[in-house]
Amino acid sequence: MRGAWLVAARELRADARHPDGFATAVTFVAALILVESIVVGPQVARETTVAPALYWIALLFAAIVVTTRSFDRELTDDAIDAVLALPGGRDALYAGKLIALAATIAAVGLVGGVLQIALLDLTLSLPGHALIAVALGVVALPAIVIIDVALTLRLRGRAALVPILAVPVLLPQLVAATNALGLALSGDPTGSLAWSGLLMAIALVYAIVGLTIAGTAIE
């Protein structure tokens, strides 16, 4: 785990100096939430089944943006090769990126959530439950997206391939996260926690699968 924390700290430090990935993701999330809300209309967009879905779709694509940016930085000057050549480097790279990108996506999610609440005048009946749902959902996203970006690392069609690979695998996460957040919005604590429990199991499975295949995917 020490290696993972070192990689995470390195990633977050570089992000803090050049927050272009974060800025792009926040802009993307804001634009997507705004456009989606206009397209479906404010009344529909405020519904507790629709607003969380719009939120998670925006956050999924934001996760792809920040993860792709993170690996682009690794490819500049082949920084990634030096990590991979170290003993335990592949696992440290995956776990470290998972920690750092989850933190970055959480920050993007926080900004996006506040924006959506303000824009649509949403009432958050159970803010604690909503935070649990967002935290668990945010961990699950990079666990899969990192693997997909690693698999397509040096392919020209990466921009198209990553969503194609990620979305089908992340569907259970999107469904569970949308329901957990929707029930937190509508004030159903039991239902929200039940979906959050499922979300936690999904995040755990994704992370274990990711750690298991990260070395091969990166190779």
């Binding site: 390195r10 430090r13 570089a14 082949d78 991979l84 050549a85």
Partner: protein, 222 residues
């Protein structure tokens, strides 16, 4: 393909045996036997001969389609480019690699250098000074010239100690002063009996330092 990290051959620090690497539909290495022992080993050949692939195969960065790779677990790979992460300074990059590597098989020879905190920082500071980067070590690496980034990369020779060092075209982008420093570092490594493999198509004077020279062409030894 078989990969082992413990050394099977006496006197050998690392080796490829019958190594074949296929990239796309092309065999870039063909049944290559390569052995690296203590001292400096030089890998020569024209552009496209497979030198970089051979080094990357030893570093575990490309999979072997066939053959055996035997390397110590603590190896230092310095490739074509600097491996410095943009957004961090040269000092931060050196610190990251040193901390991530932790102790190595050669650590007992340099116990003071692999300590935590002050000892490690002092060693990194020394290496930065030696490679002429004192004025620029705390600037983000993307603001350094290619030659300065290469110097920062080579400073890892002084901050990490490994059973095997792999250098791919290490003289590229270096000025005369840095070339002389690298040459001195290689002579020092040879005199200590460190195992170093250098891939280079120029710098004929390297052959004077080398204990063994391989020539590659079209993925085969010639």
């Amino acid at each position: 393909m078989r990969e082992v990290t413990s050394l099977q051959t006496p006197g050998s620090v690392a080796r490829l045996h019958g190594a074949t690497v296929i990239l796309g539909d092309r065999a870039v290495l063909r049944d290559l036997d390569l052995e690296v022992g203590p001292g400096v080993t030089v890998l020569r050949g024209p552009n496209g001969a497979g030198k970089t692939t051979a080094i990357r195969a030893l570093a575990g960065l490309v999979p072997l389609a066939r053959g055996v790779r035997e390397v110590p677990s603590d190896l230092l790979y310095l490739g074509h480019r600097s491996h410095m992460l943009h957004g961090l300074t040269a000092r931060e990059n050196l610190r990251f690699f040193s901390e991530l590597r932790g102790r190595t098989s050669r650590a007992p020879a340099y116990p003071e250098a692999l300590g935590v905190g002050g000892a490690r920082e002092a060693r990194i500071g020394d290496a930065i000074g030696r490679w002429g980067l004192s004025a620029d070590a705390d600037r983000p690496v993307e603001r350094l010239s290619a030659g300065q980034r290469r110097r920062a990369s080579l400073a890892r020779l002084d901050t990490e100690w490994c059973g095997l060092t792999l250098l791919d075209e290490p003289f590229a982008e270096l000025d005369d002063e840095a070339v002389a420093m690298l040459r001195a570092a290689l002579v020092g490594a040879r005199d200590r009996g460190d195992a170093v493999l250098v891939a280079s198509h120029g710098h004929a004077d390297l052959d004077e330092i080398a204990g063994r020279i391989y020539r590659l062409d079209d993925g085969r030894l010639v």
